[in-house]
């Protein structure tokens, strides 16, 4: 496969930084009591959403999870409307009714973050089916965790997608844990990708902290899906830096493990590659992250200045 062009590479770098900065701010504001509800951060996993979404067109779709900020940003989500939603403001993506766990932008093919673990698979089947039915060449990516891979819904979706040769790519984000439960206690296999064999679809394992590895594997799978050859399963081995949710004391895993993974930070790794390949200088990359910091600041200011919805809006949008 030929490597992505310079523009794509720099966009990927920007996206990873966007997710990092957005979530670092969320971490801070949640701790300061400014954000209600649950917040599940994606810090450390930026390469997965970024690499996978870079392999998609704007017209392709994704289904997301409870840990969805990264997916949404990588698929082109607007910083301000996301921040406003997480703040519960009327200007947010869902008019403040969804919050962190339920952000969607159907115009960008973001079919919604989801509070129900494993619910994305069936929805992704429906999305992929609709494209096949309408004879477009659009593809759907279903993001799901290692924990979610054990739900019947996920296994049923893998089966259906394969039986019906749906244009679907299952992107597994294997960060080793479902809340406190390590992978070894919840399944007998080491590689979730092995399960693809049961459904007669390709299953590959990639380094989920290497954005290019994710990009390449998902690009292959997307091509296959567009050719009408059906779904694939791409397992991305990664790690979440934070607790399951903000406020989780995270006593179930050891500091050494975390430190090992912090050392594999996907962003500086990618930066080094970009510099070594002569794509950009360290200064140019620095300028990108500084610009993003300013954009995120602006999003925060926008969210904080936005009004809450009115109680009279409670019954709006229950039905079309």
């Amino acid at each position: 496969m030929k490597s992505p062009d310079k523009k794509t590479l720099l966009e990927m770098f920007a996206t990873m930084n966007k997710i990092r900065e957005f979530e670092t701010k969320l971490q801070e504001f949640f701790a300061a009591g400014k954000i209600p509800g649950f917040v599940h951060l994606y810090l450390g996993e930026e390469a997965v959403a970024t690499g996978a979404c870079a392999a998609l067109d704007t017209t392709d779709s994704i289904t997301s999870t409870h840990r969805g900020h990264g997916h949404c940003l990588a698929k082109g989500g607007d910083l301000r409307r996301m921040m406003a939603e997480i703040y519960g403001r009327r200007t947010g993506y869902c008019k403040g009714k969804g919050g962190s766990m339920h952000i969607a932008d159907f115009d960008l093919g973001i079919l919604g973050a989801n509070g129900i673990v494993g619910a994305g698979g069936p929805l992704a089947c429906g999305s992929a089916f609709a494209q096949k039915y309408k004879k477009t060449d659009r593809v759907t990516v279903c993001f799901f965790g290692d924990g979610a891979s054990n739900q019947g819904t996920t296994q049923e979706s893998l089966n259906l997608a394969s039986a019906w040769k749906l244009p679907l790519v299952f992107v597994n984000e294997n960060n080793g844990y479902g809340i406190s439960c390590p992978q070894c206690k919840s399944m007998a296999v080491t590689d979730i990708a092995d399960r693809a064999a049961a459904y007669d679809m390709p299953g590959v394992v990639v380094d989920g902290n290497d954005v290019l590895a994710v990009y390449e594997a998902v690009t292959e799978a997307v091509k296959r899906a567009r050719r009408g050859e059906g779904p694939s399963l791409v397992e991305c081995k990664t790690y979440r830096w934070r607790g399951h949710f903000e406020g989780d004391a995270c006593t179930y895993r050891c500091v050494e493990e975390l430190n090992d993974w912090l050392a594999k930070d996907p962003i500086p790794r990618f930066a080094t590659k970009l510099v070594e390949a002569g794509i950009a200088s360290q200064d140019e990359l620095e300028a990108i992250s500084v610009g993003i910091k300013a954009d995120v600041e602006a999003a925060v200011a926008y969210a904080e200045a936005s009004p809450y919805p009115d109680a009279a809006e409670l019954l709006d949008d229950v039905y079309a």
């Binding site: 509800g37 009714k97 969804g98 989801n114 129900i116 006593t251 179930y252 809450y308």
Partner: protein, 323 residues
């Protein structure tokens, strides 16, 4: 007798029943070392070990089904789902399997399982993590449904649930976990199907469940200051439902308000009101009132969520509208 929280009362009930009966075990997501999503099973893993406090994969359907199968095979499982909303994933195992097994098989099976699930809004958890779903379970013959409102009832009802030979859906309210009250140290049971008069009054009966019991008591306090005497009746289990106590109270007060956090339309209050209409219409001096959530999913943003949850103010207003 010591002051304990609702959460501690539940934890103590499980610990004491596990000490008493080795067939009792716990299964669910993160119930082990982690102690459960809200901390209700904290310490039990250390006390009883991983053979009896078992972390499962994220597979609600299998959690409920494993509990049902193990119960039918002689054990007494306590299964936990992190949020009642996740029962959607496991409904068949609960509604069609656990609930019907005994009846369908002509009384051959016993399914002594307890399914603990937190429900309720108030923590900004939005539409898929905040519902109150007791009406769903009340509609299924074969289940029992406990819905404690105080620490005392939480412990006694949970012990009854564990000892019961039927599948019991045990609904905890997230906003009650921190509530303190007097709880005896020794094991005791609160019988199913026996409502509790949480406050005696003469002018209006307010039947309230779960968190709304607290709101009804607050409303009663305020109304007392205005000279209205409110009787607060807490059914404690909505299946079986102690209509006798409710009807006795209505015969005394001649006015009825029902308060619950579940959506009003086709909610648990509809059954209570219908039975009062059937059995005690002549005793009513005013129309009945329901205080319940509006017909919408639960919004995330705090001001809307607050507006969505029925409040003590709403109960005061309902009482005043018929008094």
């Amino acid at each position: 007798m010591a002051n304990k929280t609702y959460l501690q009362a539940l934890n103590e009930a499980m610990r004491q029943e596990m000490e008493r009966d080795e067939n009792v075990f716990i299964l669910g997501e993160d119930v082990g070392q982690f102690g459960g999503c809200f901390g209700v099973t904290k310490g039990l893993f250390d006390r009883f070990g991983e053979a009896r406090v078992i972390d499962t994969p994220i597979t609600e359907s299998v959690i409920v089904g494993t509990a049902a199968g193990a119960a039918a095979s002689g054990l007494r499982p306590i299964a936990e789902l992190m949020f009642v909303d996740f029962i959607g994933v496991a409904l068949d195992q609960l509604f069609n399997q656990a609930a019907k097994m005994r009846f369908m098989f002509g009384g051959k099976a016993k399914v002594p399982m307890t399914l603990r699930m937190p429900q309720g809004a108030g923590v900004g958890a939005a539409a898929q993590h905040s519902q109150s779903l007791e009406a769903w379970f009340m509609h299924i013959p074969g289940l029992k449904v406990a819905i404690p409102a105080t620490p005392h009832d939480a412990k006694g009802l949970l012990i009854s649930a564990i000892r019961d030979d039927n599948p019991v859906v045990f609904l905890e309210h997230k906003m009650l976990y921190g509530l303190e009250g007097e709880v005896p140290d020794e094991p005791y049971t609160v019988p199913f199907g026996q409502a509790d008069i949480k406050r005696v009054g003469t002018d209006v009966t307010v039947v309230a469940t779960s968190l709304m019991v607290q709101s009804a008591l607050a409303a009663a306090e305020r109304l007392a200051a205005e000279g209205v005497s409110v009787e607060v009746v807490d059914p404690r289990t909505v299946l079986p439902l102690d209509m006798d106590t409710i009807i006795e109270s209505v015969k005394k007060t001649h006015c009825l308000v029902v308060a619950h956090e579940a959506v009003g339309f086709a909610g648990p209050g509809a059954e209570i009101v219908a039975q009062v209409a059937e059995k005690a219409l002549d005793y009513l001096d005013a129309p009945v009132k329901r205080v319940a959530a509006p017909f919408s999913p639960i919004p995330f943003t705090p001001p809307l969520e607050k507006a969505w949850i029925p409040s003590a103010d709403d109960i005061v207003a309902a009482v005043k509208s018929i008094r």
